[in-house]
């Protein structure tokens, strides 16, 4: 085998490794941002529900005559 064949193999392997690294970073970013988004959205929803609950739920008081 000649030197040029060894270089081409190295390039291919390198390319594959870089591609895998990019995919991993992208997936990690998606998971990270997705999780952050989910946590953010859910915390807003929970807080809004808590406020609505506190505003609306109460026992009726008797009127004073």
């Amino acid at each position: 085998m000649s030197d040029s064949d060894g270089s081409a193999l190295g390039a291919i392997i390198g390319f594959i490794l870089i591609a895998i690294a990019v995919v991993v970073v992208v997936v990690a970013a998606v998971i990270l941002f997705g999780t952050a988004g989910a946590l953010w959205g859910s915390s807003i929803a929970v807080n809004n529900y808590r406020k609505a609950f506190a505003n609306n739920v109460s026992m009726e008081k008797p009127s004073i005559r």
């Binding site: 953010w40 859910s42 739920v57 109460s58 008797p62």
Partner: protein, 451 residues
């Protein structure tokens, strides 16, 4: 259920409104939050723009998912508690209703011109006097109801409802029945047959004699009844004549009898004899809708043949006031009233216990015809008759036959299959055989008070 002056239980109204309002407001808040992020995205740096848009989308997507999940949880938890409350309410409402049904408890108004029958009286709040006319387990409370003034009122028979001040839903006058079983007995008879003498003598027997012998307690419903009784019974015991009854629409004489922790409230309705001259006079006597037994009083001297036989003696004895009213007219007016105004058909038999009572039997020699001496003689002659009571019953029927009143006897027997004849005299404490009438009726009406 009608509107009541009380706070509705949370689980029967406000709970649903609060749930709906919470969900609506939470949804609106989420929308506002998302909108605020999108508004912020319009005027910021590009990286902040991206962040705000992402936040807005996150609120819409994940916020909605979590809003739905929390709403579902809220609904589930609340409905679980609602279900427990409804099951509890159903059990208690049914128990209360069943108790009243089984013990034949309802409210009978004893007041003149009313006599209305209702499920329960109107109960009054002890603090603000608000009227609660459906005080039972329901949407205003299960074991207790909160009046509009804040006072808690019991709602069932076992937690003190009957102790509240009560009034008749129809006429508004006080009811002191304490949710006891009413035992309603109208007294029927022509003028001057001795109905009033009988009622007070009967009450005396129940109060002073039978209660001691049979282990039940007696008390008047209120001071009014007690004072009337005391006044009339002292008149009777002193040998004087009671004033003639003039009210066509009577006021009931009421007293409680209690045995084995069960209370019954007796109602004796003593109308003026003139009320029986025409069935139209009886239309307002609504107690015929729910009576438990009847007492027909017959003055022997109102029978023509008997009157003729004792005419001269009656003229000499002014203290014996004989009735001149036709006996059959009283019977006819009573039966027509029952058939026209209540649910009795012409061919119906009235199976409630009926006592046909010959009064004034202590006069002259009537005891020798329908009294105890005659009964004892009859028993000797006829061994099939096992008791003095049975013999008197036979003798009274025969008395009607022998004195040209067989047609009336047949009318009684065909209409009332559960009747018995008695002969008595009503003289307060010296009465004859009135206790037998009481025993006959009470034993057939209320098995709790066996005499």
């Amino acid at each position: 259920m009608k509107q009541q002056p009380a706070i509705k239980s949370y689980f029967f109204g406000k709970g649903y409104r609060d749930l709906l309002n919470t969900i609506k407001e939470s949804w609106a808040n989420n929308n506002d939050s998302a909108q605020s992020y999108f508004s912020d995205a319009e005027s910021n740096e590009w990286y902040l723009k991206i962040l705000n848009i992402a936040a807005g989308i996150s609120v819409i997507v994940f916020g909605t998912v979590f809003f739905l999940a929390i709403s579902l949880l809220h609904i589930t938890v609340l409905f679980f508690f609602f279900l427990l409350i409804y099951i509890g309410y159903s059990i208690l409402w049914s128990t209360d209703a069943l108790y009243r049904f089984k013990n034949k408890i309802f409210t009978a108004c004893p007041h003149q011109d009313c006599y209305a029958k209702n499920i329960l009286p109107v109960y009054h709040c002890p603090t603000c006097n608000a009227k609660h006319d459906q005080l039972w387990p329901g949407q205003y409370g299960i074991l207790k109801r909160t009046c509009q003034c804040g006072t808690k009122l019991p709602t069932t028979f076992f937690n003190g409802r009957s102790k509240l001040r009560a009034s008749c839903p129809s006429c508004d006058r006080p009811i002191e029945a304490l949710e006891a079983r009413p035992i309603v007995i109208p007294i029927i008879g022509a003028p001057s047959v001795g109905k009033t003498f009988f009622v007070f003598s009967l009450t005396y027997q129940i109060k002073e004699v039978l209660s001691q012998k049979n282990g039940f307690s007696f008390r008047f419903m209120n001071e009014y009844n007690e004072s009337i009784y005391n006044s009339q019974i002292s008149t009777l015991n002193s040998g004087q004549v009671i004033q003639k009854t003039t009210e066509k629409n009577p006021i009931a004489l009421n007293f409680f009898i209690e045995k084995n922790s069960k209370q019954s409230l007796f109602y004796f309705f003593d109308s003026a004899g003139e009320a029986f001259s025409n069935s139209l006079n009886l239309v307002e006597h609504k107690f015929y809708d729910y009576f438990d037994g009847l007492i027909f009083i017959i003055d022997p001297f109102s029978i023509s043949d008997v009157f003729e036989k004792y005419k001269k003696q009656l003229e000499l004895n002014s203290n014996i006031r004989n009735s001149t009213f036709p006996l059959e007219d009283v019977y006819d007016a009573s039966i027509i009233n029952l058939e026209k105004n209540y649910h009795y058909k012409v061919k119906d038999k009235i199976t409630k216990p009926v006592a046909i009572v010959f009064s004034k039997v202590d006069a002259f020699d009537l005891e020798d015809y329908i009294g105890e001496p005659a009964a004892m003689d009859l028993m000797k002659a006829n061994p099939k008759l096992k008791s003095v009571g049975e013999s008197i019953d036979y003798l009274c029927r025969q008395f009607l036959v022998d004195n040209s009143m067989e047609h009336l006897l047949r009318k009684f027997e065909s209409k009332f299959p559960n009747l018995f004849f008695f002969s008595i005299s009503s003289c307060g404490e010296k009465s004859l055989r009135i206790d037998k009438v009481a025993a006959y009726l009470i034993n057939r009406i209320d098995k709790n008070i066996l005499i």
